[in-house]
């Protein structure tokens, strides 16, 4: 087990290193720079600024410097958006805002999505199944900004039930969380349904019935645990993605979260912020994937982690 984790951590470090390099190079390939805008400063000022932030050196040298500094825990300072504030501080300030909305959305997506899948599978072929399938299909095909906008117009503007901007009271969490959760909820529902359908016809389910186990327990104890692996696989990257915030939802509801900031940093060519947020997101995803792999073993004892985590 420890050997497995050590191996995976080593792999993860390599992945993060590669992501760092690729992002850095791509970022520099994109035309423009942090200090170029409609009112560009004079060439002398530009040269001075570039020299200050080390942008005058060749790209490979910049990359080397960045990595050396990053390994020491220094991810640079914002060049433009929050001038000269350390990137680490900015991320740690923004992340909790996104994470708060994200956790609620994630928990909601799982707690509603999984039962939707179970119920649909149990009542397969009936109108309940059909209704849930229509709902989940709509959920995975409507883009997030449509959900967010429709909610905003109906609940926020037309009926004035919920606040439209910011995160001031618990009420203001409802729409952003729902918009963020709707797609994953429906996706999880579909995943859970298809894998439950497979499990529910297994012979051990019949054994459980023959033992006299109540239906609820058969579905949510015997079947669900066997059907959970695909859902778990999806949950890893989803957790990282949803906790770091959705750009669309944060933009529509004007939430000062990390997701929105990430995209804005790209538009602004604020190089250290782009790098910082990318590395943060990448590390998060890699970590969650590892956590999921370890959880596989907890869900299905037949999985042998030492053999690469396959059944």
């Amino acid at each position: 087990m420890m050997k497995f984790i050590a191996k995976r951590v080593a792999q993860a470090l390599i992945v993060i290193f590669l992501i760092t390099c690729i992002t850095f190079l791509l970022m520099n390939l994109v035309p423009g720079g942090p200090f170029l805008s409609e009112k560009s400063p004079s060439p002398q000022v530009l040269a001075a600024l570039e020299a200050k932030y080390g942008l005058d050196k060749p790209v490979p040298v910049q990359l080397k410097n960045y990595i050396v500094h990053a390994l020491q825990g220094d991810f640079g300072v914002s060049m433009k958006m929050q001038k000269n504030r350390p990137v680490g501080t900015i991320i740690m300030e923004m992340f909790p805002v996104s994470a708060k909305v994200g956790i609620i959305a994630l928990v909601g997506a799982v707690l509603i999505g999984v039962p939707i899948g179970c119920i649909a599978a149990y009542y397969r072929g009936t109108w309940i199944d059909s209704a849930l399938r229509v709902l989940t299909t709509i959920g995975v095909s409507i883009p997030g900004f449509v959900v967010a906008t429709v909610l905003l117009i109906l609940l926020g503007s037309t009926w004035k039930l919920l606040p439209t901007v910011g995160l001031t009271s618990w009420k203001s969490y409802i729409m952003p969380c729902f918009s963020l959760a709707f797609y994953p909820m429906c996706y999880i529902g579909r995943l859970a349904r298809s894998s439950m359908l497979d499990v529910i016809n297994q012979e051990y389910i019949r054994t459980a019935k023959a033992k006299g186990v109540p239906t609820f327990k058969i579905v949510f104890k015997h079947a669900l645990r066997n059907a959970f692996i695909p859902v778990l696989t999806y949950l890893g990257p989803l957790t990282a993605g949803i906790l770091t915030g959705g750009f669309v939802v944060e933009t529509v509801f004007n939430i000062p979260g990390l997701g929105r900031y990430f995209v804005q940093s790209i538009l602004n060519r604020d190089y250290p912020i782009i790098m910082g947020t990318t590395i943060f997101l990448a590390s998060f995803i890699v970590t969650m994937t590892l956590v999921v792999d370890i959880l596989y073993k907890a869900v299905d004892p037949r999985i042998d982690l030492a053999k690469g985590g396959s059944r």
Partner: protein, 347 residues
Amino acid sequence: MNNMVNNMDKKNQKLLEVKDLRVSFFTPVGEVKAVGGISYDLNYGEVMGIVGESGSGKSVEAYAIMGLLQSPGKVVGGSITFDGEDVLAKSEKEMQAFRGNQVSMIFQNPMTCLNPVYTIGDQLIEAIRCHKKISKAEAREKSIEMLKLVGINNPERRMNQYPHEFSGGMRQRVMIAMGLICDPKMLIADEPTTALDVTIQAQIIELMKDIQQKTQMAIIFITHNLGVVAEICDRVTVMYAGKIVEQGNVEDIFYRPHHPYTMGLLRSMPRLDAEEYERLIPIEGTPVDMLNPPAGCPFGPRCEHCMKICLRREPPQIDLGNGHTAACWLLVDEAKRLAKKEETPNE
């Protein structure tokens, strides 16, 4: 073993009474009458074998008793009375209390019948606690005791293991332990040895015999293996195409079979006492198409003694005495003769 005394007392009393049971599967291409009106009784402590080829409805009939028929299967007629209670009238909740407690069932393939993600102990304890309000520790103790009974070594350690750590024969033993754990009055064994290799089969049969003697529990033993039937059963029911063709105690069926199908089954079975030149004689033809069953006797088209009437009208069950019945037109005359014979001494 609380039931043991009970079972002993009630010996020769009816435990299960199946009357004209009909089960159909409503498939897109039509209704398949998987079980077409069968009747039989089972006494307390009795072991009955149900024999028949694949698709003869023997398992379906057992699922009907357990209330485990899956859509599109449905009981369309008849009655099942177990210990004085109408099983078919029970609600789903009552059936949950019935299954595993009054009647339990073990299945053909032990490799896939245990839930792979829970320990054996978990699954055994659950089986008890579904029906009896006892503490986990007591349930655990009882489970260990049952594992010992079915011959699993080191049961304390085995309790914490997962099914994939057991061999096929061991898993079937666990299934048997699970089936017996609530002291049911009856056990339905649906081809419990079919998926096991021959030496393990013998062990499992031996174990079931042993347990039956200890508990005096009634068993319905579904199989297509006549050797197993001879080994363990008191009575045999032979099914063909969803109907009972012959029924009787083991000696009558094996030594005095009256239905051509039973005779055919016996001829196609390898025997130790066969002469070297003797060949196994297969039953010609193929099983009936259950979507379009023939009008008369279902076995008619394959029967070497087939008469005109066999293809037109269904044969009645002929009583051959001593609980031995067979459904065959050939026996109608014989039955008359037997009846006459019985009358003569009285005159």
